[in-house]
């Protein structure tokens, strides 16, 4: 059984963008927890704000055009037990956490890897920035060594060498020390690559990303993300660009590594069938808000929110008749100065006046399962009760 301690707690996160036509409320009041060791799926369609939510964890949302984010993302450091608000960190502090305690894998490994760096350089950088102590230990430089050469090597290990220092390190007396340093880095890089089941990782150290297949590139990126044994891994559609046969293996790999290191994973995807298979809990987003959150099987077998039901019914399955897929009519609303009230109201078959006037907040319908729909948790003593608005049997497997 996985622990229930919260690693990251997102409270009322709002990320708005300044556009010419007005303020785009891309993420508007999102709250959820990521628990220790769990896989939380964040699903939704294009433009629902799932990537912006995840990127704001690491301060990767460019500002401008983004306005300063509101709310809080509280991160509990597993080792130290200290709690920080990721939205309020300065660049240096964020730099220490990013890639170290919280790492991210991106959708397109072809674009996320630097095409001008070899696999060795790409991964070596992670160790240089976050794990230079280990590299130095491997290179035979202890914390108490303080002569000039040690100083040079120490700076080189952190990729801080100036031009003159690099020249000095290329000269005979220090060359062997530099070679030791490179060997130590290579060792760590090979170890990290081996974790991702790349056969004979030493072979690909000198290769550039374009020389690797899509699945291999994704493995390099996973190795890079997991190199520092992070507390939290954010995976932003990591297998969307890959074939199903490769996807299955990458997903398996992430799950194995997660089990071994007890990492929490925030898995962002638009593929509901996939998320169901790999996630413990699922949060469904629509137009910048979470509409439903709960245990994966619960959300799939007993979806409550009309949007979740619509999404599940739209997947072609054995049962669905040709030409009778239940598409959700209409389109996603504009997020520039949206109306108050539920954002799904224009596409919802059960919409009432109340839905237009007021915004339903997330309310529990079962232990650990919350929905933002008036159909389930009427406010202010309204007569609406769950079964009368939306039947339980709206979706069948």
């Amino acid at each position: 059984m996985r622990g229930h301690d919260t690693v990251i707690s997102v409270q009322d996160l709002k990320v708005h963008f300044q556009a010419k036509a007005g303020v785009v409320e891309a993420v508007d009041g999102v709250s959820f927890d990521v628990r220790e060791g769990e896989t939380l799926g964040l699903v939704g369609e294009t433009g629902c704000g799932k990537s912006v939510t995840a990127r704001s964890f690491l301060g990767l949302v460019p500002s401008p055009p983004a306005l300063p984010p509101q709310g809080s993302i509280r991160f509990r450091h597993r080792g130290e037990g200290s709690v920080v608000d990721l939205l309020r960190l300065d660049a240096a502090d964020m730099g220490r956490i990013r890639g170290n305690q919280i790492a991210m894998i991106f959708q397109d490994p072809g674009k996320a890897l630097n095409p001008a760096l070899t696999v060795r350089d790409q991964l070596g950088e992670v160790f240089a920035i976050h794990r230079s102590a280990e590299v130095l230990e491997g290179a035979g430089v202890g914390p108490d060594d303080h002569d000039f050469a040690d100083h040079l090597i120490r700076r080189a290990a952190r990729l801080r060498s100036r031009l003159l220092e690099r020249l000095l390190l290329a000269l005979p007396p220090w060359r062997s020390r530099r070679a030791n340093l490179h060997a130590a880095t290579d060792d760590l890089v090979v170890k990290a690559l081996a974790e991702t089941q790349i056969p004979n990782p030493a072979n690909i150290l000198g290769r550039y990303p374009h020389e690797l297949s899509g699945g291999m590139k994704q493995r390099v990126m996973i190795a890079q993300a997991l190199a520092c044994n992070p507390d939290v891994l954010i995976a932003d559609e990591p297998t969307t660009a890959l074939d199903v046969t490769v996807q299955a293996r990458i997903v398996q790999l992430i799950a194995d590594l997660q089990d071994r290191h007890d990492t929490s994973v925030l898995y962002i995807s638009h593929d509901l069938s996939l998320v169901r298979r790999i996630c413990d809990r699922i949060a469904v987003m629509y137009a910048g808000r979470i509409v439903e959150i709960g245990p994966a099987e619960e959300v799939f077998n007993h979806p409550k929110h009309p949007y979740t039901r619509g999404l599940l019914a739209a997947i072609p399955s054995m049962a669905s008749e040709k030409g009778e897929l239940e598409a959700i009519e209409g389109t996603v609303p504009e997020l520039i100065d949206p109306d108050p009230g539920c954002r799904f109201v224009d596409r919802c078959p059960h919409a009432s006046d109340m839905c237009r006037a007021d915004d339903p907040s997330l309310g529990a319908v079962a232990p650990d399962h919350a929905v933002s729909c008036f159909g389930y948790h009427p406010i202010g003593g309204s007569e609406l009760t769950a079964p009368s608005v939306i039947g339980e049997d709206g979706h069948s497997e």
Binding site: E45, T46, P199, N200, A202, N203, S213, G215, M216, D243, V244, T245, V246, Q247, A248, R249, I250, V251, Q252, H270, D271, L272, S273, L274, R276, R277, G310, L311, A314, I315, P316, S317, M318, S320, K322, G323, E324, L325, E326, A327, I328, T331, E397
Partner: protein, 438 residues
């Protein structure tokens, strides 16, 4: 388009277990709209200053199937298997290197040459007939709609080219088409960028419908769309098919979509057909190990519950040098000695073993199955000979070796020579290219 064609049930195809002969006329089946016969498309690899041709990428390498009137045939496979190239050949956008695609016409007064001459060699009236009747919808609606043209010009272009309409009549015809795909008059004078992905795909479909074709090649029409929009487009395609008796060649990598849309499925691997047959039978009981692997990997299709998805080991081999025998044998879990093990497999399998080929000097090939591997020292040679019997290579590969001998620093390996594995007819209208019986 006659009424009888339009009312034909889409899912009721009963494919006969015909031989796929070279002669397109031997099919003798009224239902067949299009036959693909031994189609190959090779792209030359050019190298050096002189751009000399140094090899051929065999994107499609001998594919045959029939497309029945009013039905949907699904073409599935991983990226790089040649499904898009084949779709482009069928639509007349690429000329096949060999083989042919034949469009049949049941009306009796078809233009000369149709049905007996491959579409890439049709002339005059017959060529125009083919072009009108075979349209294509592309995957990426961003790049397949000209960003500087108005919707009216995009959808009306086929009508203009075939001198069907002009002026106000053209506009009215375009409005009619737009209404059929769920758009309207208000969208006439807009540019593609003003539409969402789903709407742009609707415009592509309207353009394909403009000349009232018999068939449409759909190349991944929904893979760039969200599920709820995908459902809208799939419903639209199905409605158009029942209303107009359209025939679809549906190219996709999404097994859930293809199972929903197609009555027959062709699974491609590395330019060849691995398996073909009616959808239900193929999903219920896949014959070819590759089909099984595909189904197992797909989260929509693989057994419900928390059954783990399993992927495939290894990479897709180089299509410029496809494996001998069965093309899938390098990644197959149930491979046998008769599957076509060859010298390349020795190198591919063992190159990741550290130090195995460090001392390799050269390879003298007598054939793809027979070669000498020459090393710099005899320890390496003995090491390779031992490895061929060890756990690093599959048992079936070891069993396929006829002789292995070490002479000083050279290892001489000869594999059993096997012919190419061809498609064989199985029960229930199915075909599979596998040496194993069911």
């Amino acid at each position: 388009m006659t009424a009888s064609q339009a009312s034909e049930p889409a899912g009721a195809a009963t494919p006969a277990t015909r031989e796929m002969a070279d002669d397109p006329d031997t099919t003798g089946d009224e239902d067949v709209l299009l036959s693909v016969r031994n189609v190959a498309k090779h792209f030359p690899i050019r190298e050096g200053v002189m751009q000399r041709v140094t090899g051929q990428v065999r994107a499609v390498d001998g594919v045959s199937f029939d497309l029945r009137r009013g039905t949907t045939l699904g073409l599935v496979g991983e990226s790089g298997c040649g499904k898009t190239t084949l779709g482009r050949v069928v639509a007349g956008l690429e000329t096949p290197t060999s083989g042919g695609v034949y469009l049949h016409d049941s009306t009796g007064h078809s233009p000369a040459g149709l049905g007996s001459v491959s579409i890439d060699r049709l002339q005059g009236r017959a060529a125009r007939y083919f072009r009108r009747n075979c349209q294509m919808v592309f995957q990426d609606s961003f790049s397949s709609l000209n960003p500087r043209h108005l919707v009216r010009d995009i959808v009306g272009r086929p009508l203009k080219v075939h001198k069907e309409a002009s002026g106000t009549e053209l506009t009215e015809r375009v409005v009619e088409l737009l209404e059929q795909v769920g758009l309207g008059r208000q969208h006439l004078y807009r540019f593609p960028h003003q539409f969402s992905g789903g709407q742009r795909q609707r415009i592509s479909i309207a353009r394909a419908l403009a000349l009232d074709p018999e068939m449409i090649v759909l190349d991944e029409p929904t893979s760039a769309l969200d599920v709820s929009v995908q459902a809208q487009i799939l419903n639209l395609l199905h409605r158009l098919q029942t209303e107009r008796g359209l025939t679809y060649l549906f190219i996709t990598h999404d097994l859930a979509v293809v199972r929903h849309m197609a009555s027959e499925i062709v699974v491609m691997y590395l330019g060849r057909v691995a398996e073909a047959g009616p959808t239900e039978a193929l999903f219920a009981d896949p014959i070819h190990p590759y089909t099984r692997a595909l189904l197992r990997s797909s989260p929509d299709v693989a057994g419900a519950g928390d059954a783990t998805m399993q992927g495939l080991e290894g990479n897709v081999p180089d299509p410029a040098r496809p494996p001998m025998g069965c093309r899938f044998h390098t990644r197959c879990e149930v491979a046998t000695p008769a599957c076509g093990w060859e010298i390349d497999d020795v190198i591919n399998r063992l190159e990741d073993v550290p130090g195995m080929f460090d001392e390799l000097v050269g390879v003298e090939r007598r054939s793809r199955f027979d070669a000498d591997l020459v090393f710099d020292d005899d320890t390496s040679a003995h090491r390779l000979a031992d490895a061929l019997e060890g756990a690093e290579v599959p048992v079936s590969m070891t069993a396929a070796i006829e002789t292995v001998s070490v002479r000083e620093r050279a290892v001489s390996i000869r594999f059993r020579e096997v012919p190419e594995v061809t498609l064989t007819v199985r029960g229930g209208g199915r075909r599979a290219a596998c040496v194993l019986e069911d």
